[in-house]
Symmetry: C2
Subunit: 192 residues, 2 copies
DNA sequence: GTCTATACTGTGATAGAC
DNA sequence: GTCTATCACAGTATAGAC
């Protein structure tokens, strides 16, 4: 792999673990076996490194969101989306972890703004449920919980289970979490 | 409230939003209307400020964990714990958010180590389920998802729902997530 | 209890040699 | 493409006046 790509991967990993502001160019350079200046030869600035690290994942998530045909309150469409979403999480766990955890503190960074827009856009596909507090929480827990568990697992669990097993379990759990959203809000609120 | 307590509250808020390393003593001082030196009069160091900010919450969570009488695979005991846990999250959302998101990058900080020990200790109360990947994920999603949604809600939702409503919804969702853990692992693995 | 002044270190970034 | 040298600045922390 090229030095360019190496630096991007190192930066992504460090940003996710130690945070953007907690990661210095010096540290990235040391891991890569280079000097700070060499890092800044490949990327114009630290922010450019962040864009390179998580930008592609944001773009991919955007294409997933753009491909949603209609409301995600439809059970079939939601099933398709959940599989795509879980695959995305598994493929980009570091990027998602980084965005979920540090997005709020990185306002005015273009790539973070793009990601924030995506979350807002995605939530509109569950819009019939917006008025319901519990449904709002279900959506958030599915998103944040799945993102958290994928990055935290490496710290607390000694053995890494097979990816297929994790994928299947995640689809099950997220589907279960979002299942109540398929019923109409009015029907549920009267049921309470 | 005293200046001492003011500084602790400001620090907690900034640490949670901008991150520990992303928050300078200068910024804390500005918000408090003081100089950096005055901040360091009240707290010996930035790390001491972190300890003051999240230490009490860690201690309270420890007392909750210590009060667990036996395995949390028992449905009644788990119900009691979940209510205590949700109340804890609601009361200390910033502290939990800070720990969940930045704990990994703050190794060797005493207060973070204490919190990490707690998570490990807590997971032993679900220990019969440890061998099961899905149960492991359920535990993590409940913990990380609930923590995420409570801190993220302030950013994405314009209106803040009543606390009682949030509490009830969280208890429902977390109970639902952890419900499958009550059955024995052997019974479930054969069912697969 | 708060301030100014200061010391020291680390940071992101640039210039220029090789 | 990588380096050393250098810069301006922000970071944590200390000393001492008020």
């Amino acid at each position: 792999m090229s030095t360019h790509d190496d630096l991007r991967d190192i930066a992504l990993n460090e940003f996710a673990v130690a945070g953007y502001s907690g990661t210095s160019l010096q540290r990235i350079a040391e891991i890569a076996g280079l000097s700070k200046s060499s890092v800044l030869y490949h990327y114009d600035s630290k922010e450019a490194l962040l864009e390179a690290a998580i930008g592609p994942a944001i773009d991919q998530m955007k294409s997933i969101v753009d491909s949603i045909g209609g409301s995600l309150l439809d059970a079939d469409r939601r099933g398709v989306f959940i599989e795509q979403f879980v695959d995305f999480l598994l493929q980009h766990r570091l990027e998602v972890h980084m965005f979920i955890n540090q997005g709020p503190g990185l306002e005015d960074v273009p790539v973070i703004d793009r990601a924030n827009d995506l979350v807002v856009h995605l939530s509109t596909f569950f819009s019939s449920a917006v008025s319901n507090t519990e449904d709002h929480l279900r959506f958030g827990i599915a998103l944040g919980g799945a993102a958290y568990v994928l990055s935290a697992k490496q710290e607390y669990s000694l053995e890494a289970p097979p990816v297929d097993e994790v994928r299947a379990a995640l689809v099950t759990i997220v589907s279960e979490l979002l299942a109540p959203l398929s019923t109409t809000p009015s029907a549920r609120s009267t049921a309470n």
